[in-house]
């Protein structure tokens, strides 16, 4: 069947046509080998644009189509579908990306047009050799892995599990709850954070469809959407989860103490501990670093007093392998450490504290039982809250952390509620964008909190006047009054940025997720695909994708759950027709391909001493093709013939035709 190619050049409004001479590209395409028709149109992806292709396929008997427009990740499915609807095999379609690869990255019109022409030439030359292929469907494993047990992970896990599908929830800490468990109240409604979170935590702990693995980490992930395999390391707790009744006697009897991570070092916990009272599961862990038995071989007090006999000093890390169809990554954020901003005196000056520390101090379950104390035990008469610490700063994080304005105002309210102190908010811009947020700002204003516009220059204890003696002095410009001022206060709260977890790079590699410039995980599309990632079947939700508040986190987690359920409820997924084929006549049976295949799709036939590809498992990644020393494997839709033609088309003289 002689190829009859149609080429369609998209203007994409002015996105492409603003830089590329689309008419010239069309003229060029008309002269290419096998091209029967070439047209340009304002929006090829629109209905009329697609109709144009469909009509030409029918009327002009086209059997190959090239669209020169945006990235294939954007619209390849659209145009393939259009071709299919007009009765053409969708694999006889090829796309040239003249937007992301040309118009958006080139300033010079002439150069842009030339580049667009060579890309179109390449696509036309390649499509010449395309073969019709059939897509295949594989069954989806209905189990889901959720990584990270903060509010995002809890919400996603509950939503998926409530539909009757199995969820594995993996959390690295001894309890789920995440940062939300540490917060006191939540803006703007001032619900107690624990009061709204703990019921959900309990539900997770007892849910018949959720298998909770705390104190555990995912160490390996293989496979692809619908059929992932994950290996999970369950760190040794030294407490048998099945036997432990959670009575807590071990924690009372343990004589050894360490700084509590949950309380940010503001108070101590025992060497055998649950991070906080409402922990789920309510099974303690033994901290080897501080346990006398592990350090000196003595004590064993917990073991003696445990009536259930749950203490097991011999326990070792366990590795569990699970099979799942989808993964939701909800690994959260870390709070910015303000120590490097030396001028704010964190760590050097008493009573300069971070926002998260304030949450604990303010919390009735916290180390001070909700009393706001200074280091010397007295109550503050004045508190300054500094916004944007580590945010909106090119030296630390360029982005706005989105929640600090609101939590700072919440602090102001709580300080007023707990003390008689005067509160000052030192801000650059107040960003109260959410539902009910501006109203909350108004409320805090009317409560008498003083808002001063100006990023503080420094916090010092060097007094210049008698009134400043013994105080912390915040120096800043009151930019609205146009005055440099010094403000003596008793306590300074630093509203610290939200930043990516320190191990984000490891997690990103593990799950093959990209990261945006700010270090957070990158979603597939910032507007239209906000929870998917570039890896099919792997979704993100919550602050691991970028700073956000609880309402947004919960919404995103629910969205991720819906995405997963959509895949599960369909039951199968269509996978790329492109698969690897082994030419058994050439294969020497070296099995290199088998070693590199990420989908475990290659098996070795011992009898014939050749490798074979299981088409149902093959993802068409091409790793085996590259590694095969005898050139015995080829990848359909990426044959040597096609790729060489594509290169020749690209390198051809501007007026030339593919050879």
């Amino acid at each position: 069947m002689e190829p009859r190619i149609g080429v369609y050049v998209c203007h994409c409004g002015s996105n492409i046509a603003g830089t590329v001479d689309t008419a010239e590209v069309t003229r060029f395409a008309q002269g290419l080998d096998g091209v029967v028709v070439a047209r340009d149109y304002k929006f090829m992806c629109s209905d009329p644009g697609q109709e144009l292709i469909k009509n030409d396929i029918r009327d002009l008997d086209l059997n190959r189509v090239v669209v020169a427009s945006c990235s294939p990740t954007m619209h390849e499915p659209t145009f393939r579908r259009a071709c299919q609807e007009a009765g053409m095999n969708p694999y006889l379609f090829e796309m040239a990306n003249i937007r992301e690869h040309v118009s958006w990255v080139t300033e010079d019109r002439e150069q842009a047009t030339e580049k667009a022409k060579s890309l179109v030439g390449a696509a036309a030359a390649r499509v010449y050799y395309h073969q019709p292929l059939e897509t295949r469907e594989v069954a989806v494993n209905p189990n889901t892995l959720v990584v990270g047990g903060g509010i995002a992970g809890i919400q996603a896990a509950l939503k998926v599990a409530d539909s009757g599908q199995k969820v594995y929830l993996v959390e690295k800490d001894p309890s789920i709850g995440g940062h939300m468990a540490q917060l006191d109240k939540t803006f703007p409604t001032l619900d107690c954070s624990a009061c709204i979170l703990t019921p959900k935590m309990t539900l997770v702990g007892s849910h018949p469809y959720i298998e909770l693995m705390t104190y555990s980490e995912v160490v390996e992930v293989a496979g692809f959407v619908g059929n992932f395999k994950a290996k999970i390391r369950k760190k040794a707790r030294y407490v048998d989860e099945d036997k432990c009744t959670g009575c807590g006697v071990c924690q009372t009897k343990c004589p050894w103490k360490a700084d509590s991570e949950f309380e940010l070092g503001l108070s101590q916990r025992k060497a055998i501990y649950t991070p906080f009272a409402q922990a789920v599961p309510n099974t303690p862990v033994i901290d080897k670093e501080h346990c006398a038995y592990f350090l000196k071989g003595t004590c064993r007090a917990c073991e003696k007093f445990c009536e259930a006999g749950a203490i097991d000093f011999e326990q070792a890390d366990q590795f569990v392998e699970i099979e799942i169809g989808n993964i939701i990554v909800t690994t959260g954020y870390a709070s910015f450490d303000p120590t490097p901003i030396a001028q704010y005196g964190y760590g050097r000056l008493d009573n300069v504290i971070s926002g998260l520390e304030f949450e604990r101090i303010c919390n009735s379950a916290g180390p001070t039982e909700g009393e706001i104390f200074l280091k010397d035990g007295s109550h503050p008469e004045s508190v300054a809250i500094i916004h944007c610490v580590g945010s909106r700063d090119e030296k630390y994080h360029e982005y706005c952390s989105r929640v600090c304005c609101m939590y700072s105002m919440k602090f102001a309210h709580l300080i007023k509620e707990h003390t008689d102190a005067q509160v000052y908010e030192l801000y650059i811009d107040v960003r109260s964008f959410g539902k009910g947020y501006e109203e909350f700002y108004n409320r805090v204003l009317s409560e008498g909190t003083v808002f001063i516009r100006g990023r503080p220059a420094e916090v010092t204890d060097v007094a210049e006047t008698p009134e400043e003696k013994g105080k912390l002095i915040v120096q800043f410009e009151d930019t609205l009054a146009g005055l440099q001022r010094r403000l003596p206060v008793d306590m300074v709260v630093l509203s610290c940025a939200l930043e990516p977890q320190p191990d984000t790079d490891v997690v990103a590699r593990l799950f093959n997720i990209s990261r945006s410039a700010d270090g957070f995980f990158l979603e597939r599309h910032p507007k239209l695909d906000p929870v998917a990632t570039m890896s099919d079947g792997i979704f993100v939700a919550g602050c691991c994708q970028g700073p956000k508040d609880i309402p947004d986190t919960v919404a995103q987690a629910s969205a991720a759950a819906a995405e997963v359920l959509a895949v599960i409820s369909k039951g199968t997924i269509e996978i790329e027709a492109a698969t690897a084929v082994v030419d058994e006549r050439i294969c020497s049976g070296c099995q290199f391909c088998k070693m590199v295949c990420p989908a475990s799709a290659i098996s070795f036939d011992e009898e014939k001493v050749v490798c074979r590809v299981n088409e149902a498992l093959c993802k068409g990644c091409g790793a085996c093709v590259g590694v095969c020393p005898s050139d015995a494997i080829s990848l359909s839709h990426f044959t040597n013939e096609q790729i060489v033609a594509q290169m020749e088309g690209m390198l051809a003289e501007p007026v030339g035709k593919p050879t």
Binding site: I341, A342, Q343, T460, D461, V462, E464
Partner: protein
Amino acid sequence: MKSYSYYPGCSSEATATGLDLSAKAIAKPLDMELIELEGWTCCGSTPYSSLDRLEAVVLAARNLALAEKTGLDLVTPCSSCFITLYGANLQLKENPQLMRQVGEALAVANLEYRGNVRVRHLTEALVIDVTPEEIASKIQDGLNGLKVAPYYGCQLVRPDYGFDDPESPQSLDSLVTSLGGEAVPYPLKNRCCGGSLIISEESLALGLIRKLLDNATENGAQCITTPCPLCQINLDAYQSRVNSKFKTSFNLPVLFVTQLIGLALGIDGKSLGLDKNIVSPGPVLEHVSRVKQEVKSGA
């Protein structure tokens, strides 16, 4: 022995003679060779660059060209010269057009600059090359617990040269400690003394100097040490002006860090130019020698 091309700076000939003398005096015992740049001229300091930025770069370039011929690192004990030479060097390297124009101008005096000089502050060389540990090893009695406020000033650590933190610098503290002195906490250690504006905006500068003296005294310092000629003259020579303006009674010796090192090394006061200090460093000398005697009589 490590050799350096040495740029004393104009103040070495007048207000900061003590800095120049003491820098040269401590070099040998610390295994450093400071070879004074022959025919050096003004670096093109702030007053010059505030009137004509580019011409100021030419002034710096002449000295850089002279230094390039020696093939050695260029060190200067003056913070103001340091920031000027360092900044001009950077600007020349980043701006080829300026480099070309400057090259044309230098050619009339048969000079050429290719951008290969590394500009360093003497303090940096002391901390990075000689190291406080090395200095400590050469000291016998040292300062024996003399309470010193290490005053960095501004241009030694800012904008940011990477060798010390611009907001909470430590290099001088480590030097003082290595000399057997006690570096007192000095929160204002990197705050401004007013610099050259002491001449044109005296009241502004006096206010700043007063805060510095106040803060050092409050923290129990027996003296202040600084590497910067401008800081030294402001804190030392203008201390009496501060006293008369604010009715205070400061009498705090202000020593160049090189003088302090010299003292700890046992070099005599005259060779270090200590007789040129306006606020008498007598109490410092007394403390050091008294403790020395105690140690001797104890032994």
